[in-house]
Amino acid sequence: MDVDVLVVATIARALAFATPLLWAALGEVIAERSGVVNLGVEGMMALGAVTGFAVAFTTGDVWWGLAAAGLAGMLGSLLHAFVAITLRADAYVSGLSLTMLGLGLSALIGRAWVGRPLPDPMRTIDVPWLRELPLLGPMLFQGQYVLTYAALLAAVVAWVLLFHTRGGLVLRSVGENPTAVDAAGLHVRPVRYAAVLIGGLLAGIGGGYLSLAYRPSWGEGMVNGLGWIALALAIFAMWHPLRVVLAGLLFGACFTLAFRLQTVFPPELLTMLPYVFTVLALVFTAWRRGRHAFGAPEALGRPYLRGER
């Protein structure tokens, strides 16, 4: 096989693998930029995957399934938002409980659908015009699911919204210095609610991609740590939507290449690799930025209470 063909094929596979990570990590970037850390990504993805599958299976329409997946993720995040923002409980533990609850609930809901393939799953398509591009066309714009292209688009949209609109400025300010935003007469909590809900929506869509497109079925181990990897990806990308795409592609490429080693290594050890990569990526990020959490929103993980500084 030619080298450039191999590279193109690897990147195309990497993108397909990274799509759920992109959705979930973009959602987490938006939530964390507003200062609310949500460790419930894994649970929201599982809820999205199972709900999306159940609805698509029942209605026969993957798009209804996808809408349900996003909604399910959003509902999960609403729970977290209420506990962490309104009740001002510990955001880390709240997110963790959302993951546990989401995994348990999704397994409970999904019992009826285990082992059933989706009759009419999402189909792959090419992007008109862009597919003709040399190299980039076959890498990014051919034979993927709509959700993959949409993830790339979502990253650009998130970047524009976060960094080039007034709303984005407010959102980031809430994450950096909520007291100043409050003093300017703007409301902190609604902004945080919106950011967390968008995060849940995107995580749900990421889960929907798994059960409606990537592996059109449902099983308890479907998400299998992808939500946690997405959390790591948000840190690795230093909370920047465009870097999320690059980081996601890098992750995906590593996994795809690793799976080409199947003839040499036992499958259990290869399955371990994504998790090892994630640890290495976090170590690399920490090493690069030194001891200070450069790029992290200043008020990340701290509930806002007026009159407190």
Binding site: D90, Y92, L96, E268, V276, T278, A286, R306, E308
Partner: protein, 400 residues
């Protein structure tokens, strides 16, 4: 510009306080558990099971019958060990959620000793506990080192280490340690008789592990209450800044606590392989999510070492009740996971309730409000009840 958006002032005001009376903590915790019980009752109804009968069956088969009670206690053993460890780690704000992986690491260590060493009989079990503890501690020390030296987020690394441990066990029982007789399901060779823990009568209650767990809880309680180390942990947990001024090496304390916590989880793994399975088995059967449930045990105990015992027994009951629901009531096996997640969520959500109280607003303060709403006044002044700021500051990102 601001005035139309502002809500009307309520007659009561939330006054956060750093310390909560014990009765209130107990009451709020019991309330959270009661809400979870209500939800379970609703699940019974949804699945067409008579709730009264279902609860009676569960109580009889987990608490009243000797065999059922032994199962409840048996399932509380790994939760006690991992839970007391996590309590230590959380006290120092090291968010170890890797107990599950550390349990598996302990099981690997114990299996290595049981199957591949030639020790004299009486030394085998102690060596297994030692190896399991060291393996668990090593597994937990890596994320702790990364956190202490480089500031790598321990929540994600400890979790990743869970998956790595899981696939490591799978690889071992499918590859190098696979039993010759294993077809279909994979597992290691059976442990020799001297590597198996004694149990209480005909039950599966491996009492040596239980004894170790109870001793450990007592030691930790003493350590936290009486020693210089306990004092350092206390200061570090309350204020890392203060700890620095007091000359406490935060990195060293965190590392030590994390290794201790992981070592305790490792011991739990030894108990599971040597007391129950008697061989290394599929990781999801080896630890039924004890490492995750132990997080709830530590949080339920709210920093009090001795409170780990009732908390672990409660979760042991949840796990045992899960078995009863699955076997006797034919309810889905995932229910305990939902209950665990739900109780965790309720406990977190109710945490602020233990840290403050509603107080009636001072009428003079209410009278002063219209003036404060003038656009020129900084909004912060409107709610700045004097005690609120300082007392609340201790609460936000710790405690939990």
């Amino acid at each position: 510009m601001i005035a139309p958006l502002r809500r009307r002032r309520a007659a009561h005001r939330w006054e956060p306080r750093a310390d909560a009376p014990a009765w209130r903590v107990v009451l709020v915790t019991l309330g959270a558990v009661a809400v979870a019980a209500l939800v379970v009752t609703w699940v019974f109804v949804a699945y067409g099971v008579a709730p009264g009968e279902a609860w009676a069956t569960i109580v009889r088969r987990t608490l009243l019958e000797p065999r059922g009670l032994s199962e409840t206690v048996r399932k509380a053993i790994p939760l006690l060990l991992a839970g007391i460890g996590l309590l230590l780690a959380f006290r120092a704000r090291f968010w170890n959620i890797g107990a599950e992986g550390q349990i598996l690491a302990g099981a690997i260590g114990a299996t290595a000793v049981a199957l591949f060493t030639e020790l004299p009989g009486p030394l085998v079990v102690p060596a297994m506990f030692l190896a399991g503890m060291l393996a668990g501690a090593a597994w937990g020390a890596v994320p702790a080192l990364l956190k202490a030296r480089m500031g790598v987020n321990e929540i994600i690394t400890t979790l990743m280490f869970n998956y790595i441990a899981l696939y490591l066990v799978r690889w071992l029982i499918n590859g190098p340690w696979k039993a010759r007789s294993a077809t279909g399901f994979s597992y290691s060779e059976r442990f020799p008789a001297e590597a198996v823990l004694p149990t209480l009568g005909a039950t599966r209650l491996h009492w040596p592990t239980l004894a170790i767990a109870l001793v450990l809880v007592a030691v930790v309680a003493l350590l936290l209450a009486r020693s210089r180390f306990g004092f350092e942990v206390e200061v570090l947990g309350r204020s890392p800044e203060a700890a620095r001024y007091a000359g406490i090496d935060a990195g060293r304390v965190t590392l030590l606590l994390a290794a201790l916590a992981a070592g305790a989880a490792g011991l739990a793994g030894v108990g599971e392989v040597a007391g129950i399975h008697r061989r290394l088995v599929e990781p999801t059967q080896l630890s039924l999510g004890y490492g995750y449930a132990a997080i709830l045990v530590a949080l339920l105990a709210r920093g009090k070492a001795l409170a780990v015992v009732p908390a672990a027994l409660f979760l042991g009951f949840v796990f045992a009740a899960g078995d009863v629901m699955r076997v006797s009531l034919r309810l889905p096996s995932q229910l305990p996971d939902v209950v665990t997640g739900l109780v965790l969520l309720l406990v977190v959500a109710s945490e602020p309730l233990t840290r403050g109280r509603w107080v009636r607003r001072d009428p003079t303060e209410a009278a002063a409000t219209p003036a404060a709403e003038a656009p020129v006044a900084p909004p912060a002044a409107a709610t700045a009840g004097a005690p609120a700021g300082g007392a609340a500051h201790a609460s936000p990102d710790g405690e939990g």
